[in-house]
């Protein structure tokens, strides 16, 4: 499941569904709205580009780390503190591939998928600066 959506996702169900034949390890990354003295965050995506880019990252990670299953669900819209922003579920035969594949995916998303985040505070709002100011937003550019 590769999706950009408003709705939350059932992590337990994703894990059960990730257990393809040969699976020995599942790693889940769940990115969460942190209470950095904010009220909410608001997420926005260029969906027509972001979804194919997520698919490409999933495919690359699957090949590079021999992953058996990949889910990436990135949420958009307004989210409260503690809500899931991004859920990545990967399965592999062994733990090393599962951990490394999961990490590859989150770093690639941060580096190159057109999604933006605004922190809504009592004083107003602030767009979160990208982690990769020189090279971000470029499809096909991934940290290796």
């Amino acid at each position: 499941m590769i999706a950009i959506q408003h709705e939350d996702v059932d992590i337990g169900a994703l894990v059960r569904n990730a257990k393809e034949h040969g699976t020995g390890a599942v790693v889940v990354f769940d990115g969460i709205v942190r209470d950095d003295d904010i009220r909410q965050i608001e997420l926005e995506a260029y969906e027509e580009v972001a979804v194919p880019e997520l698919r490409k990252i999933a495919r690359e990670a699957s090949e590079k780390f021999r992953l058996l299953h990949v889910d990436i669900v990135h949420r958009i819209g307004r989210l409260d503190i503690g809500e899931n922003i991004l859920v990545i579920v990967v399965s592999a035969g062994h733990r090393k591939e599962a951990y490394e594949g999961s990490r590859f995916i989150i770093e690639a998303i941060k580096a190159g998928v057109p999604i933006w985040k605004k922190e809504l505070t009592k004083q107003g709002g602030r767009w979160v600066p990208g982690e990769h100011p020189h090279g971000s937003g470029q499809p096909g550019y991934h940290i290796s």
Binding site: G31, E44, I115, P139
Partner: protein
């Protein structure tokens, strides 16, 4: 001829998005975005430097493909093109 300009994040807040813009023959990507951005000086300054060039961090796409800043001034806009202009990404 018409093109669609999509701004995202802070650029969207300043300039709107899904803007249907008439395009003259020979119009460049930089020229078109400059013209639209001029409707709001804060929006213009967020995207362009004093010389009227895209700022270093600005990302430009035409029909979902990245266009380098240097190439945007010589890239022509065609009918029904979708131009996207946005700041560095910050998902995840």
């Amino acid at each position: 001829m018409t093109a669609t300009i999509r701004f995202f994040a802070r650029f969207r807040e300043l300039l709107g998005t899904d803007i249907q813009a008439p395009v003259e023959a020979g119009a460049t990507l930089t020229g078109l975005v400059r013209r639209i951005a001029k409707q709001n000086s804060e929006g213009y300054e967020a995207i362009f430097d004093e010389s009227g060039n895209f700022r270093e961090f600005v990302i430009i796409m035409k029909n979902g493909k990245r266009i380098e800043r240097g190439a945007a001034g010589i890239t022509l806009v065609s009918d029904n093109d979708e131009i996207a202009v946005f700041p560095p990404v910050a998902g995840g």
